[in-house]
Each structure stands twice: as C-alpha cells, then as structure tokens.
C-alpha cells in the first residue's frame, strides 16, 4: 500500500458491546503504515501501526475484522477494499483455496479417494505400525492382565486328568514344532487349561502367545486332528497379531471419525457408529478365516489330518441356525466348513 485509503464499516468500542458506524483509514507515516478508526462525528477512536493490529483470516462472506491491542474492533463487509490491508498472507491463500470454483471438484475427488484409501489401507497401516511399536513386554503383560480377568470372571481350575493333559500337550508340541523357528522364538508361547462350562468347547489366544483351551473341548473332541486344527488356528491368531491389530484398528477408526468428521448432528452420528461397528465385525470375520487357513496349513505340516477343523465346525454347526452372519464376529459354521473343504483340496 503506497497511498492513503479509507474504508466504511462499524466499530465496537474496547471491552464493550457499543457499536457505531465508523471508517478506517490507513496511511504511511515515517516508513510505517498506520491505521486509524474514525467515528462519523470525526472523533478518532483507535490508532496503531498496521503491523500491530490483529487481522482475522478471511472466511467466506463473514465480516472482515481488525482488532487493536486495547480491544477496539473494526469490522466491514467491504471484502474487496479490506484486501488492501491483508495481502499475500497465509490466510489470503487459504481463503483463495476455499472459494467456490472448479478446483473444488479436484479437492472433492481427492477427499473421496483419500477417505477410501484411509479406510481400505490406512487403518491397517496405522494398526501395523502401532503393533510394531508395541514392546513385547507390554504384549506379555496384556496376557497376564487378561488372564487374571478371565480367571476372575468365568474360568475354574482345569479338571482334566494328567493323561488327558499330557496327550493335549504332546499334540500342541507337534503343531508348534511345525512353526518356522523364527516365528516360534519371537513369541512366548504357553498352553493353559481351564474349566469353562459357560463357554463350552472352545479355545482362545491372547496376543502375547498364551493359548487357553477349555476342558470341554478336550473332553468333547478327543480326536487329535480336531485339537491340532484348533491349536493351529489359535497359533495363527498369535503369529499374525490379530488381537492387537483389531484393537488398534478400532481405536484408529474411532479417533479418525471423531477428529475428521467432527459434529455431524443427531442420527447421522448413530449411523456412523453403527456402520463402524458393522465394518469392524467383517474385519474380525476375515481374521477368523485367515486363522482357519493358517491352522489348516500348520496342522497339515505337523502330520495331522486337516479334516479335524472341519469336523469341529460341522459338529458345532449342527443344531444352530446359521442366518445373520453379518451380525457376528465369526463366520457362520456352514460357510466356514465350505471354505475349509476348499482350502484342504488346495493343500493336497
């Protein structure tokens, strides 16, 4: 700005809501540009070097504002005129980006692509990085903590006989031996037995390598092939870090929605959360299928008949309805049995 200029607007007096019509004038004085606010009656209300006044970044057609140190506020709707006071700043560039124009089509496309990539790959990458950054000590502590909770809430000491336990351990040892050495050594694998009448025949793996098998499983499915298949499945969960992945993925999705989308208003919020929960269920089902395949390969390599896993799900599936797969963390039994058959054919 090289010459004096003047702009109509309103002034709010310092620390007060009093509003009156006024104009702002800017003029160079001894190499510095000064701004002055002058009321309609000609009285000067504020004066400062332009560099000391605070100018809010332009935002849509909201009033342009210039605030003096003492709290006097000048505002105007004359956007074109005000630009002379605010040129080449970062705010001016941001304002140019936000204006409605053809470039927004490209921005929109970029956002849609980015949102898709974020959902499809980004979350997995974030989860994988977080898993890699989680120290082994922490993971093992998760096992200890979770086990305490399980023992407190739903498990009793195992009632298996020594023979039953020894037999299960020998199957476990054979399956684990089939695991490549580097994968076996990076984890602290441990097999535990618990009586869990409410859970029934089942087994689960904790992220650090603790695998818990229920008495009900050993008693109701004494077939070595079945036990080998299930142990292989659980080892698969551990080796592929499924538990931690799922934890980080759901935390990441939640944080992304909260921070990127912000307030969506009622109803939409419910839909977003429901949708996110449904998607994470499908993710969990994909993990189960991956662990099935891992278990089939591993028990097969250990010399067991992979048919064992199929027998297990066929028996479990009998007598239970199979609809509503999309509502479950696990694939339904019949589709699981089909997938297993297909995979076994590939193994042979």
């Amino acid at each position: 700005m090289t010459q004096a200029f003047s702009l109509q607007g309103h002034v709010y007096l310092a620390v007060s809501s009093r509003r009156m019509a006024a104009r702002i004038e800017a003029a160079p004085y001894e190499g510095v540009i000064w701004v002055r606010v002058i009321a309609e009656d000609g009285q000067e209300l504020a004066r400062a070097p332009l560099a000391d006044a605070k100018i809010d970044t332009a935002l849509g057609r909201t009033a342009r504002k210039l605030t003096f140190d003492d709290g006097t506020l000048f505002e105007t709707q004359d956007h074109a005129g005000f630009e002379a006071l605010d040129t080449g700043t970062r705010g001016a560039r941001l304002y140019a980006l936000e204006r409605f124009g053809p470039h927004l089509i490209a921005f929109t496309a970029a956002c849609l692509v980015a949102a898709f990539l974020l959902w499809r790959y980004g979350l997995d990458t974030i989860a994988a990085l977080a898993v890699a950054a989680t120290p082994q000590v922490v993971v093992e502590k998760i096992d200890t903590g979770t086990l305490q909770t399980i023992d407190f809430a739903m498990a009793e000491d195992s009632m298996l006989t020594n023979e039953e336990e020894a037999r299960a351990r020998s199957i476990y040892a054979r399956v684990l031996a089939a695991l490549p050495e580097n994968e076996r050594n990076t984890r602290d694998f441990e097999l535990l037995f618990r009586a869990m009448p409410a859970v029934g025949p089942n087994a689960f793996a904790l992220p650090g390598g603790t695998i818990v098998v229920t008495d009900e499983l050993i008693r109701e499915f004494p077939d070595a092939d079945v036990i080998a298949g299930i142990l292989g499945h659980e080892i698969g969960h551990v080796v592929e870090d499924h538990g931690l992945h799922r934890l980080y993925r759901s935390l990441g999705a939640y944080a992304l929605i909260a921070l990127l989308v912000g307030e969506t208003g009622p109803m939409l919020e419910d839909i977003l959360l429901e949708g996110n929960a449904l998607l994470s269920l499908s993710y969990s089902r994909a993990q189960e299928s991956a662990a099935d395949e891992f278990g089939l390969t591993l028990s097969h390599r250990a010399g067991f008949d992979p048919i064992g896993l199929k027998i297990f799900f066929e028996r479990l599936g009998a007598g239970i309805g199979d609809d509503m797969q999309w509502m479950s963390t696990h694939p339904n039994h019949s589709s699981r049995v089909e997938a297993i058959e297909l995979y076994i054919r590939g193994l042979e």
């Binding site: 709010y12 007096l13 310092a14 620390v15 007060s16 809501s17 009093r18 509003r19 809010d56 935002l59 849509g60 057609r61 909201t62 009033a63 504002k65 709290g71 506020l73 941001l94 980006l97 936000e98 204006r99 409605f100 124009g101 927004l104 921005f107 929109t108 970029a110 956002c111 849609l112 980015a114 949102a115 974020l118 922490v138 502590k141 998760i142 200890t144 903590g145 979770t146 305490q148 909770t149 935390l251 944080a255 992304l256 909260a258 921070l259 990127l260 989308v261 912000g262 307030e263 969506t264 208003g265 009622p266 109803m267 939409l268 919020e269 419910d270 839909i271 609809d323």
Partner: protein, 345 residues
C-alpha cells in the same frame, strides 16, 4: 415463522450458505487428511468461526477466538493420556481400576474446563462470554445426581436434566451480565411424559404388526424380537429424543433472561426438527457425505429462524471483562468423547 411480533424483539439470523460452506469444509477435510489429522484443530476453529460469524442478532454477529495451536495442544495431551490409560488398564488391571476412579473424579473438572474454554473463546458484539461453574457443583450435577437418578430408575430424569440445564445456563456470563434460567419442573416432566408415550405407542404398534406378520409365536422367534427392537429404536426412541429436546429447548429458552431485561425466545417444532434430521441423514448417506455442509447449514438456519431475543435495555450497554486464560484440555476431551458443550445457540 417469525418471532418478531413486538418491535423490541429480534430474530437470530443465519447468513451462511451451503455453497460457500462446502468450499471451506472440503478444504478443512482435505488438509486434515493430508496432515494426518493435525489440521483438524484449525479446521475446528474455521468451522466455529464460520457458523458463529454468520449468526446475527440486530446486525451484530457472534465470533469464535480460539487458535488452532491451542486446540491441537489440548488434543495431543488428551490423546497421549488416553493411550497411557489404555496401556495401564490392560497391563495392570488393578492399578487401572484406581485410575478409572480417578478419571471419574476428573470428569466434572474436564467438563467445566470445556465450558469455560468454549465460553471465553466465544463473543457477541465484541464482548466475550465466560463460565463460572465450580468443580464442586459440577461433581454434584455430573456424578452424584446421575447416580441418584439411576437409583430411582430414572423416574427423576427430568429433575436431573433441569439441574444440568441450570448449571450450564446460570453459570454463563456475557461480559459482566448474568444469564438466569427459571424453569418450572412440571414442564420438564410434561416433555418427558409426551416422549415416553410416543415410545410406548410405537413399541405396541411395532410388536403387534410384526408379531402378526410372523405366524410363529414371537417369543420363540429371535428375528421378530430383533425387528421389533429396530423399529422401536428408529421410529420410537430417536423421534422421542427429538420430541423431548424440542419441547425442553423451547421451555429453557423462553425461561432464560440476561441482566439488562433481555429474554431469549424459542419456538422450534419437534416434527420439523425430526424431519430435518431424517432427510439430512438420507441425503448425506446417499451422497457419500458430500452434502453434509448443506445439511449443517440447513440445521443452523432452522434453529436461528426459531430463536430470538426480546431486548430490554440497549444491546450497546454490555461491558466486557478482563481477558482470562483458558486451558483447551477439557475442550479436547469433549471433542474426542463427542460431548456437546458449546454455547446453547
């Protein structure tokens, strides 16, 4: 529908438009994604500034003054605290339990801080708002009363809700002027009963229709029970929420005064609010979220159109107070937890 019947009445006017807001919103979103969420703090400021700056009463607008840096700092601290808390909770469940109790005691502090931050960062006509609620009072309102309410099987929910509204409004200041709300309890109970009746009517209707459609007896049919559940949720509970909110919003605004003889007015309708929310949801979902800016502007315009103020003395006579600092921690916490503590505009 205009509230301007007397010459000392002024409507709230929202001057933003969807086209303009779309540009700002999409740039917010793109920069937030590109910076892996860091820009979202600045995006929040631009969002608030846009909606505040476009809301006018008597030619004067609202404004929002927080900076992106302030909000980012608060968010980073809260996220770090949540991560540490999660780790401790999984590693040492027993210590985690004590921490959890600590967090519960911290909650009233965080929520008061959020209200203080929001109030101090908001202004109207060059005068800032402030919030003077204390921790002790917040602990009663947000910890003790909810427990008592649960003990009475939520039959005292209207009392709880009125206490919360009194806490948030009676402690709000505009410069040196004080807000005051005086609501008869009966009005809250009336709103709750109407909402509850709606749910019961829908539940009964849904149960009868679905049960008769499925020939098997509904007790044995999980499908029928689930469908009834969904119907009650979407046609019953969600609209009931709107009925309650619309009715109480009107009561609350119409009973709120500000020193200087000013009084707030509201006449929103539950049916219209519900229709706006429902159609917004459909449009936004069908356009993959791209119509969200339009939906937000639509809500802001509706609420402004049905909010007003009866001016007592002059709007020129408010006096600001000394600027005090405010921490953004509570604000970040409420953002992440999805709590709504903004100015009740």
């Amino acid at each position: 529908m205009s509230l301007e019947q007397k010459n000392n009445s002024r409507d709230f006017i929202f001057k933003g438009n969807a086209k303009e807001w779309f540009g700002i919103w999409i740039v917010n979103l793109l920069l937030s994604i590109v910076t892996i969420g860091v820009y979202s703090a600045w995006a929040k400021v631009r969002t608030k500034k846009y909606f505040y700056g476009n809301t006018f009463v008597d030619g004067r607008n609202f404004d929002y003054h927080a900076t992106g840096g302030q909000i980012l700092k608060g968010r980073l601290i809260i996220i770090a605290a949540i991560i540490v808390f999660q780790i401790i909770l999984t590693i040492l469940p027993v210590v985690g339990l004590f921490l959890f109790i600590g967090l519960i005691l911290l909650f009233p502090w965080l929520i008061t801080r959020a209200m203080v931050f929001n109030a101090r960062m908001s202004s109207f006509s060059n005068v800032r708002f402030d919030f003077v609620g204390t921790y002790g009072r917040a602990a009663l309102v947000y910890l003790l009363y909810p427990i008592l309410s649960a003990l009475t099987l939520y039959t005292t929910f209207p009392i709880l809700d009125r206490t919360v509204k009194r806490f948030t409004i009676d402690n709000l200041r505009f410069g040196t002027a004080e807000f005051k709300v005086d609501i008869p309890l009966g009005a809250f109970y009336k709103a709750a009963v109407i909402a509850l009746l709606w749910v019961m009517v829908v539940a009964a209707a849904a149960y009868l229709t679905i049960a008769s459609a499925i020939i098997a007896s509904p007790e044995d049919n999980p499908m029928a029970v689930m469908l009834t559940g969904y119907a009650v949720f979407f046609i019953g509970l969600i609209p009931a929420g709107f009925i309650y909110q619309a009715l109480t919003r009107n009561i609350i605004y119409n009973s709120t005064t500000l020193s200087g003889g000013h009084a707030l007015r509201s006449n929103v309708s539950a049916t219209q609010l519900f229709w706006i929310a429902l159609s917004n949801m459909l449009v936004v979902v069908l356009t993959l979220g791209l119509m969200l800016p339009w939906a937000q502007v639509r809500v802001a315009r509706y609420l402004s159109d049905h909010t007003g103020v009866e001016i007592g003395s002059s709007l020129d006579d408010f006096i600001g107070t000394e600027q005090e600092k405010a921490t953004a921690l509570g604000d970040a916490y409420s953002d992440i937890e999805g709590l709504d503590v903004g100015l009740p505009i």
